[in-house]
């Protein structure tokens, strides 16, 4: 069962966290698996694993037998369950031999044990089948595989992220259908004619603007009126409220879970154990690449990356040797460049403010085209700003004389800030200027327009910009224009930023435009195909490839920021509902003139039985908040201290590891190195003594305990 988990986890990694079935404990298991891989544990695994595979064929039965025993004596986990045959690093014949011997063992041991063993095999197979079946349900497997083969894992992680967002939106849709659209449709028989009328007034312009017949359609907040469903605890407003809250909560849980899974990994890989070059050498080739051009690209990428590393090494040397005057000049330059960045951001925000201002003026007397343009001015501005500025940031950061990694990160942080802040600024100005009868409808319409326009921008960017450029390059490779336009690259971070932005808009707008997730599904699916076309047809892979794992943490962290923004917006909206100023009293949608979110829940609580009422009152009172906070503090403290203890234990284990390797290698060490090694050992010993716990380390897992005792004994033997 446990090995099944580890397999699952590997699948998770290889699929860039597409699976949602993986629980966090499999991740913890992975951590213990690492202890299992330490050399000291491996030492008792002996020669078999080194040479076994090539020689452990059927003509050498003794050897293979020893191999399987070696595996079984590894740890407590393996004593209870034999590892699956496929986990042995043997060739097929070798595995057949091991299987024969296992069968003979079954006949020798008791009925009960043999039944248990065969039962576990059947269970394992069954789980495998289930896993296969579920993975078969995931769409676009072949497309992803193709993309991976052409341009590598980094770009694939973008598409996996996109697929995850579609899945998230599907869940939102189900919730919206269940809580909001379903009940309203069920309880409003007489509104069918209303809907029919809407269809009659259809016009294409309205589809883009979200006005006219769409104004009173199920698309927007205003449609969901207080209907015949009028129980105190089961009415339209309450259901609406519950639907929105559950969407946000569900998103929060899902995103946080995936962020933490990725975060644990980056933390484990963390800077404290520098193994950068070794990773670059041992893990950098992407075995999935099939396309020859992608392979040459990868070669040159690795070469550049290695050269870059060597340069950064000398860069840090150079940095250490900078004179005071040079430092001063550099800081001045950075200060000025940062000022420029700030100015650009300020200009962008003013532009957004200005466009919001212009678009809210009355424009009835103009022709429909100008009207459309006016209405779409803010989305156009936001998209334009977000299209241009990141590239400028990229250029600016190249002057700042940072190391290359810092450059990329600086650009990314600035772009994230720009993207989310521009949306925030827009919302802010929008809310301040809003003075209409049905505030939410208007707001929903803006979000709807942002969503539609962003999709249109993606579409146009690919088919009117990238593809012609590519065609030009193919047809006239020597022309001036083609040479000027340069090579097109698929910039993963910026593309992901786009996705995060769309999802943020969807979250912000779902309250006033409940069908936004549905629109999101369609646009995201179309985006998938558009981007696929763009990657496979128009772009080259990015020169600097993204590491799949670190990027996924970043993606989800950005999503979290977006979600936070949505929550703030919703909170602000509720606050306005609670204390409406004279100009902005809303009187549409589920929350009518007198009802607010707070009223509705209050009404419901009043109608509950007395016991439940007192419980809820207690739960929401200060008397409960204090113990709650105390309990949280205690739990947090215990976790933090446990985390610290684990960190210390890991450090100590590393020291032990060095020592054990040294004692193992003692007999091979040349005499002149002995002194050096002993000195090192002595130093580590001093370090351990200063922390005063090298004799009684307690670590959670039995395996690492065993590990420590093992190293402890060798340690004392050495003394």
């Amino acid at each position: 069962m446990e090995s099944q988990k580890s397999v699952n986890f590997m699948r998770l990694l290889s699929d860039e966290s597409t699976r949602t079935t993986v629980s966090s404990d499999s991740c913890e298991y992975y951590e213990t698996e690492i202890y299992d891989l330490l050399p000291s544990v491996q030492a008792c695994r002996a020669e078999q694993s080194r040479y076994g595979p090539s020689e452990g064929s059927e003509d050498d039965p003794e050897h293979a037998e020893g191999g399987s025993h070696g595996y079984r004596s590894r740890g407590p986990r393996d004593k209870t369950s034999v590892p699956p045959l496929r986990n042995l690093p043997l060739c097929m014949q070798g595995k057949r031999g091991v299987r024969e011997r296992r069968k003979m063992q079954i006949s020798r041991i008791g009925v009960w044990a043999s039944w248990r063993r065969s039962h576990s095999i059947i269970c394992r197979r069954w789980w495998g089948h289930m896993g296969e079946w579920f993975s078969g349900l995931l769409p676009w497997k072949h497309t992803l595989h193709k993309i991976e083969g052409r341009v590598g894992v980094g770009v694939k992680s973008y598409f996996v992220f996109l697929r995850y967002l579609i899945w998230l939106n599907l869940l939102h849709c189900a919730l919206v259908g269940g809580f909001i659209v379903g009940p309203t449709a069920f309880h409003s028989g007489n509104r069918k004619t209303e809907l029919l009328n809407m269809v009659k007034n259809f016009s294409a312009l309205d589809v883009f603007l979200g006005t006219g017949f769409l104004e009173n359609s199920p698309l927007f907040f205003g449609f969901y009126k207080h209907s015949s469903l009028r129980f105190s605890c089961l009415n339209t407003p309450l259901l609406y409220f519950a639907g929105i809250i559950s969407i946000l909560l569900l998103s929060l849980i899902m995103v946080i879970r995936r962020t933490t899974v990725g975060y644990k990994h980056t933390w484990m890989v963390g800077k404290r154990y520098s193994t950068n070059v070794s990773f670059k050498i041992f893990c950098s080739w992407d075995f999935t690449i099939q396309d020859p051009t992608a392979a040459t690209l990868k070669h040159s990428f690795i070469r550049n990356d290695l050269k870059l590393f060597l340069q950064e090494q000398s860069f840090s040397l150079r940095k250490a040797m900078r004179t005071f005057g040079q430092k001063l000049r550099l800081y001045l330059l950075r200060f000025i460049l940062n000022l420029i960045v700030l100015c650009l951001l300020g200009g962008a925000f003013y532009l957004i403010y200005f466009s919001t201002h212009v678009s809210q003026q009355k424009t009835d007397d103009l022709s429909w085209l100008v009207n459309l343009l006016y209405q779409y001015l803010p989305p156009i501005t936001i998209t334009f700003v977000n299209l241009v500025l990141p590239h400028m940031f990229r250029k600016i950061s190249s002057f700042e004389d940072y190391s290359f990694t810092t450059q990329v990160n600086a650009t990314l942080v600035r772009s994230i800030f720009l993207k989310l802040a521009s949306l925030g600024i827009y919302l802010f100005f929008f809310f301040r200027k809003l003075s209409e009868a049905c505030r939410e409808n208007r707001f929903g319409r803006e979000m709807y327009k942002l969503c539609i326009f962003n999709f249109l921008a993606t579409f146009c960017n690919t088919f009117l910009l990238s593809y012609p450029r590519k065609l030009l390059k193919e047809k006239f490779p020597t022309s001036l224009l083609a040479r000027l336009s340069g090579k097109q690259r698929f910039l993963i971070p910026f593309n992901v930023l786009d996705l995060v932005y769309v999802q943020t808009v969807s979250w912000v707008g779902v309250y006033s435009c409940p069908l936004l997730p549905l629109i999101g599904i369609f646009t995201l699916t179309a985006t998938f195909y558009i981007k696929k076309f763009s990657v496979l047809r128009c772009c080259m892979a990015e020169q600097r490839m993204f590491r799949a794992s670190s990027s996924s943490v970043l993606f989800h962290f950005m999503l979290l920021l977006g979600l936070l923004m949505a929550a703030v917006t919703l909170g602000y909206d509720f606050h306005k509902q609670q204390y409406p100023s004279s100009s902005t009293s809303s009187s549409c949608g589920p929350f009518g003139s007198e009802e607010t979110v707070f009223n509705v829940t209050g009404e419901c609580v009043k109608n509950l039985p007395a016991a439940a009422q007192t419980t809820i009152r207690y739960l929401s009172s200060e008397a409960f908040a204090l113990p709650l906070i105390l309990a949280e503090i205690i739990i947090l403290t215990s976790y933090v201290s446990r985390g610290r203890a684990n960190t210390k234990a890991i450090d100590r284990l590393k020291d032990m590891l060095v020592m054990v390797s040294l004692t193992d290698a003692r007999k091979f060490v040349k005499p002149k190195n002995i002194l050096k090694n002993q000195l090192y050992l002595f130093n580590s010993l001093e370090r351990l003594k200063s922390t005063k716990c090298f004799t009684n380390i307690t670590v959670g897992t039995t395996k690492s305990k065993k590990n420590i005792f093992y190293s402890d004994s060798t340690f004392q033997g050495f003394l």
Binding site: M10, W285, T288
Partner: protein, 189 residues
């Protein structure tokens, strides 16, 4: 094609499923691809050894700089010529499959990188490895000085017992902390 795929009888199929990380579909696909490589007169293909040159023509392996090493590591041929029979072929696919464990993958990765088959990665092995990764020779490749700096860096990080070579346990120790390794050490038909 459908008839050749059905030649793999049910017993064999379930045996392969038990012994490898491959799913039923993957095994059938592997069999189909394998029988496309067979010469026409060969009827019972399972035990036939396909020469290394033919294997290297597979698009999945063609661009891989380690393709010859892969064939040599997975070949059970007595003459060490890198030829593969169907069992070896499945072993290869199993080790590179989605669901193979980190342990299996790192084990085979080590053997692929161990060019001289002496059980450790010495300086020569590392140099060959780097050359394979960067695309061999040419004026763009690393200078000898850069190469030396690089290998010194690798050994400083990974060679825990300071014996001048990276052995299997040290290699796996490094690999175990790379979450990207499992997702990139993969060949799917």
């Amino acid at each position: 094609m459908g008839t050749t795929a059905s030649q793999l009888d049910k017993g064999m199929l379930s045996e392969y499923q038990e012994l490898t990380f491959l799913t039923k579909q993957e095994i059938l696909l592997a069999y189909k691809r394998f029988s496309e490589l067979l010469p026409k007169e060969e009827t019972n293909g399972i035990s036939y050894r396909i020469p290394m040159n033919a294997i290297l023509e597979l698009p999945e392996l063609k661009t891989n700089p380690f393709n010859e090493r892969i064939c040599k590591v997975f070949s059970t041929s007595d003459s060490h010529d890198g030829s593969l029979n169907f069992d070896d072929f499945l072993d290869l696919l199993s080790a590179f499959s989605d669901s193979a464990t980190l342990e299996i993958k790192s084990h085979y990765a080590f053997r692929i990188f161990d060019f001289d088959d002496d059980g450790t990665l010495g300086r020569q092995d590392l140099e060959k490895l780097v050359n394979c990764l960067t695309g061999g020779t040419g004026d763009t490749s690393l200078t000898p000085d850069e190469m030396k700096q690089l290998i010194d860096n690798i050994l400083e990080e990974s060679d825990i017992d300071k014996d001048g070579t990276v052995n299997l346990s040290e290699f796996q120790h490094v690999i175990s902390r790379s979450p990207d390794f499992v997702s990139s050490f993969k060949i799917v038909l």
